[in-house]
Symmetry: C2
Subunit: 268 residues, 2 copies
C-alpha cells in the first residue's frame, strides 16, 4: 500500500516543506494580494507553508485555511500563531465537505493540492460553488516533467520517475502543472490565465541551488526511497546513484531547472 | 551521411526560421541593445533572422554579420537591405578564421550557433580573442530537453528524440541551452549571467501556439522526417503519429512548453 499523501507526514518532510516555502515565496506568491475585507479560503493548507506568505501579503483580509490532516492543521495553526497572524483561522476538515454555505468566499487559494487528487476537475467544480460569483481562484502546482539538469543522468531521471509513478499509484499526478489551463477551463472558470514560474539554479545562484535543488527537490526525491524500493521500481544501488547525481547538479558547474505553474480564473 | 547543419538549407527551412524569429523576437532579443558607436560581431548569422532585430534594437552601432553558408549570407544580406538596415554588413566567412585582427569587437552575439558545434568551449575560446577586453558576449540557445506538453505523448517525445540524436550525430547538441553557464564560465568569461526564456502556449495564447508550437517547433521536427527514417530511428507510421500529437498540443485545450537560454558574459 502506498500512503495516499505521497510525501508522507514525517517531521523531516515538514522541514522540507518549510525550506521549500522560504526559497519559493517570492517566485510563487509575491503577486498574490487580496483586497482588504476579502474572505479567502485556502483549501488544503498542509503545515501552513503557504499560509504565512498568503496572510502577510494580504493584510486586512480574513483567511480560512483548511486541511484534512489533524497534525498538519495543528502545525499550521501553531505557525500562524508564532508569526502573529491575526487574520488566519486554521481548521481541520475535508475540502470536499466544507462547513460553509455555498458562495461564502471572495477568493479561493489552492496550492500543491490538485496534484494529489484523482479527479481534479470534479474537485474544482465542487470548490467553485463556495466562491462568490465574480470571485477568483488561484491555483499553484509543480510539474516533475519540467525537470532537467546538467550534468544529465539517466539514473537521476529514473529516481524522479519513481516519484511520478508513486504519486500516480496514489491517485495523483506529479506532472499536473502544465495542465492547469485546460483543468480550470473545463471546470468552468472564466478568464483563466496561467503564468509559468521557472526555478533556474546555476553556479551564480548558490542559494537557489542549495534551497531548491538540494533541500527541496532532491530531498523530496530522497524521501520516496523506501516506497520506491518496496515497490520494486529501482534497485537500492541505482536509486542512490540517481540521488547522488541530482545533488551533483547543485555543484558550481551544475544546472537545475524546474517549473511551477500559477493559474488564476474567475467564477463567472 | 547526415548534413552537418541538421536543419538543412531548404527554402521551407528558411521560412521556418523567419516565423520563429517573428514570434520570438521580443522574448529573446528585446533586452539586447548596444550603445551607439559599438562594433558588434554576429557570428553565424544564418539567413539573418536575428540580424534584423539585433540591428533595429541597436541604432548607431555597426554590426558585422557572418555566416559560412554563401546562400544564407546572401539571404541575410538581401533581408538587411530590404529592411533598410544601414548599420549591418553581411559577410560570407568562417567564424573560426575571422578576417579581422584580434580584439576588434566591442560585443559578440552568437545565437543558435553553439548547438551545432562539436567543441563549443573551444569555439568560445577562439571567438573570445576577437572581443576587446571589457567587451561582452551574448549567447542564445534552445534546449530540446526542455520540451513538454499536454496531452503528453510517447510518440511525440520520440520524434523530438530523433532530432536530438540527428543533431548529436552531426556533432551538435540540441540540449545545449541548459549548459550555457558552465560553457561560458569554462571559456573564461567573467560575470556570466543566464536568463531562461520560457515559451508557454495554451488556449489563451493562440498566436504563440500557432507561431511557435506549430510553425516553429513542430515544423522543425517534421523537417527531419526523411533523415530520421533513413537512419532507421523510427518507422514512418510512428513518426507521423508523433508529429500529429505535437500539432495536437497546439489545439485549444493543449499546452506546449519550451525554454531558450540567454547568457551574457564579459571578456575580463
Amino acid at each position: 500500500m502506498v500512503d495516499p499523501y505521497v510525501h508522507g507526514y514525517h517531521p523531516r518532510e515538514s522541514t522540507r516543506l518549510l525550506d521549500q516555502a522560504a526559497t519559493l515565496v517570492d517566485l510563487l506568491h509575491s503577486d498574490t494580494s487580496y483586497p482588504p475585507g476579502s474572505l479567502v479560503l485556502e483549501a488544503g493548507c498542509g503545515v501552513g507553508a503557504q499560509t504565512v506568505p498568503l496572510a502577510k501579503n494580504s493584510p486586512g483580509t480574513k483567511i480560512i485555511s483548511l486541511d484534512i490532516s489533524r497534525s498538519s492543521a495543528a502545525e499550521a495553526k501553531r505557525k500562524a500563531e508564532e508569526e502573529g497572524l491575526a487574520n488566519v483561522r486554521v481548521l481541520q476538515g475535508d475540502i470536499f465537505h466544507l462547513p460553509f454555505p455555498k458562495g461564502t468566499f471572495d477568493h479561493l487559494f489552492v496550492c500543491f493540492v490538485l496534484e494529489h487528487l484523482p479527479r481534479p476537475v470534479e474537485a474544482l467544480l465542487i470548490l467553485k460553488e463556495f466562491i462568490k460569483p465574480g470571485g477568483t481562484i488561484t491555483a499553484i502546482e509543480g510539474d516533475h516533467g519540467s525537470t532537467y539538469f546538467h550534468p544529465d543522468s539517466l539514473a537521476a531521471r529514473k529516481v524522479i520517475g519513481c516519484q511520478v509513478r508513486l504519486q500516480e499509484r496514489a491517485g495523483g499526478n506529479a506532472m499536473i502543472g502544465r495542465e492547469l489551463y485546460p483543468l480550470l477551463t473545463r471546470a468552468g472558470f472564466a478568464d483563466v490565465s496561467v503564468s509559468p514560474r521557472m526555478v533556474y539554479a546555476d553556479g551564480s545562484r548558490p542559494a537557489m541551488a542549495d534551497g531548491f535543488t538540494r533541500k527541496t527537490f532532491t530531498a523530496m526525491i530522497e524521501g520516496v526511497r523506501d516506497a520506491a524500493l518496496a515497490a520494486g521500481m529501482m534497485g537500492a544501488g541505482e536509486f542512490d546513484v540517481g540521488v547522488r547525481d541530482l545533488y551533483r547538479t547543485a555543484e558550481e558547474d551544475g544546472v537545475f531547472c524546474y517549473t511551477f505553474f500559477k493559474a488564476t480564473g474567475k467564477r463567472g
